[in-house]
Symmetry: C2
């Protein structure tokens, strides 16, 4: 059994959080100086773990075993959301590093090749899941050339150039080289904590459907325009939020979630009736049938709201990801390991958050392990997990990796650098 | 009877709209190059009308008659909202210029002194009603030194310096020099148009009470956080909007208006549940008792909304202007003139919008004339008024000015430059 080094794991997690440290979290957006420095540091660590390391043309960091045997790929993404937590992404990256090092020094595991990866821009500062999508061949060069930063609008091409990646080839998956993919991650919700569990075995990753909904009213003076004749686009946005709150629960599944994360009123002055309101709205579920029903309902509610408020409307679907299912054999391997190290303190659960694993699962068998988020908090600098859970998650993932590699995988693939 | 020159009036209105022309409207924010150029142009025009002109330390442009007799002050504000209409403010300024020119050339009116003014920053790019408040002594130097631009945040002091006004003294009203103040303005609503009237005789100007309302929820991951445990600050803001829509009509007066013109969600990402929502909310009424009742109700609704959504809240009143009443004698003079030129096509009405007249009315008898806004639209570049109504408004104001000056005023004051 590969025994991970708990002190080394925690020390490296804390070392990694120094790249872009912000309060008790990190600010390490994709291709920032801190992000690039953290990836160079990772490449060095992969080498010391006996792997051949390199950074590809979108910033993915790979650690490739020197063996010709089919390897198990382990990792997550290295960048963070803006001013966010120290574990999201980084945890799974350091898990991969720690497991590769452990296997390299465990006499019984020397014939079990671990490959490591730190994906780029899962958080979508430019393109959500950019690194893993690039790896499986799901994004063409044109989309990359067109992409801009969601915050400051500068081109991705400029960021890659500044990071020294402009002429570096992208790496693509190649068949028959991998047993599968494992990813460790914080849960980012409170299901584990509120259930008194320490390990989550991910069964599926939800599909996220996202929309830009725009109401067009009549911009006018907030003092001189009678209430009776107003067409207030901002009020339409509020009314839609209430209609969704009333109607969605009747159609949603037990785990469905929905969010209006951004609302923009134009012109946005206190003394002007908003002439335009844009709502960024999304919902998520693990069942495609539920996603389809919600899509139909949402469109009805938007139209009905526009009708009732005298506004015109537009609705544009900007994301329509299918739910992704984790490999059943991998789930069993993780569950066996969890039962061994934390008997009764584990549960199978869907992931409400999106992860690189859902992308990689299109090409390889994939599995995910969750550890509890204290208070269910993530995407905020106060995000945290108890040290003993951080260590437990890595040991469970290491044991599952051993079992999977000993059993061999169902699907497979490998990667090659673009010429 | 002073007969205005309709062609000259329309020509000057169109000339003035070239300062900061934007589509069919203007973009002439306070102290922008276009705003300052328009004020210099006005000062020249005042001189050609026989007045002594100057620009004071906050950008007010005055045209002072050479006579020692008590004068009637006529004007409005010269700057515009951002990317807004060509008439708002500018109309009343050009009315003042046209009436001064007409009186100067009308043999029967040579003994009736007209003073003109173009107030600065009524629109509040820095401080709402800055120019008229400065003139009546309602703003101290400290507030001016502290003020910053609402859009780009740069200091007012820098803008005044760039405009060459840093060392120019401010002008203050002086007792016994004025018969009163008249202002022409577009209605900015659709009351005249929908009533089939061409002239509005303003009876009162509403008081505006404005609030910054903040809900604090729990910022969290939009995928991993169950609906049941969310504290969504954005949803609280939407719920408040609906509660206001249901409850306000039961307490409001027939002319009360209320608006949420700006809503800001933080952090504002589509995949993060908003942890904070700020709503800029205002209501307006001509009755102080109504304003007080709505204040009480709003506070109850905010507290109740916070309770129901699990959010904390803060509410800060940022404006609490008292309603202002126009002089009854002035209303009669305007009504007589309107009946003469447009029999039956006039009405008395309160102003839902704020105007410099409400400030000046604290020191002088004041009156206002409204002309119709096509479609009730203002604060937008499509704002417009029929040419014949533009001309009618000016002629009515000129006749009213003559009547008021012949009768003499009740209150009076005058101004002097700061030493």
């Amino acid at each position: 059994m590969p025994k991970i080094n708990a002190a080394r794991l925690l020390s490296d997690l804390r070392r990694f959080a120094k790249f872009g440290a912000y309060r008790t979290g990190v600010h390490r957006p994709s291709y920032s100086e801190d992000d690039i420095n953290s990836r160079r540091w990772l490449a060095e660590q992969y080498e010391t773990a006996g792997l051949r390391s390199y950074i590809d043309g979108v910033g993915n960091v790979f650690g490739i075993p020197r063996s010709e045997e089919r390897a198990l790929l382990i990792g997550s993404h290295a960048e963070s959301q803006c001013y966010a937590g120290w574990l999201d992404g980084a945890l799974g990256v350091i898990y991969g590093l720690e497991i590769a090092r452990t296997f390299a020094k465990s006499p019984g595991c020397l014939d079990l090749p671990i490959a490591t990866v730190a994906w780029a821009d899962e958080e979508g500062h430019y393109v959500p899941m950019l690194g893993s999508r690039s790896f499986i061949g799901d994004i063409d060069q044109e989309e990359i050339d067109r992409a801009t930063n969601v915050d400051h609008g500068l081109p991705l091409a400029d960021a890659l150039h500044a990071a020294g990646l402009a002429r570096v080839p992208r790496s693509f998956i190649e068949a028959q080289r991998y047993v599968g993919y494992l990813e460790g991650h914080i849960e980012q919700g409170d299901t584990l904590e509120s259930s008194g569990k320490r390990i989550g075995i991910v069964t599926s990753i939800v599909g996220t459907w996202q929309y830009s909904i725009v109401f067009y009213g009549t911009q006018n003076h907030a003092g001189a325009t009678r209430m009776a004749i107003r067409k207030d686009a901002g009020f339409a946005a509020a009314k839609l939020a209430m209609a969704v709150a009333e109607s969605f629960p009747q159609v949603a599944g037990p785990s469905t979630v929905w969010t209006a994360g951004r609302v923009t009123l134009e012109p946005g002055a206190p003394n002007i009736i908003p002439g335009k309101a844009e709502v960024l709205f999304q919902f998520r579920d693990a069942q495609m049938s539920v996603l389809r029903r919600l899509d139909t309902l949402l469109r009805e509610l938007v139209e009905d709201t526009a009708l009732k408020t005298g506004c015109r409307f537009g609705i544009l679907q900007t994301e329509a990801g299918a739910p992704s299912h984790m490999d059943l054999t991998f789930q069993e391997a993780i569950e066996d390991a969890a039962e061994h190290h934390a008997s009764g303190a584990h549960m199978r659960m869907p992931s409400g958050a999106g992860h690189d694993a859902q992308i990689v699962a299109q090409k390889l068998s994939a599995g995910m392990v969750f550890v509890p988020s204290i208070g269910g908090i993530s995407h905020h600098w106060t995000e945290n997990t108890a040290d003993e859970d951080l260590v437990l998650g890595c040991q469970v993932l290491a044991d599952a990796a051993e079992a999977i590699l000993r059993a061999g995988g169902k699907k497979s693939g490998a990667h090659v650098q673009e010429r």
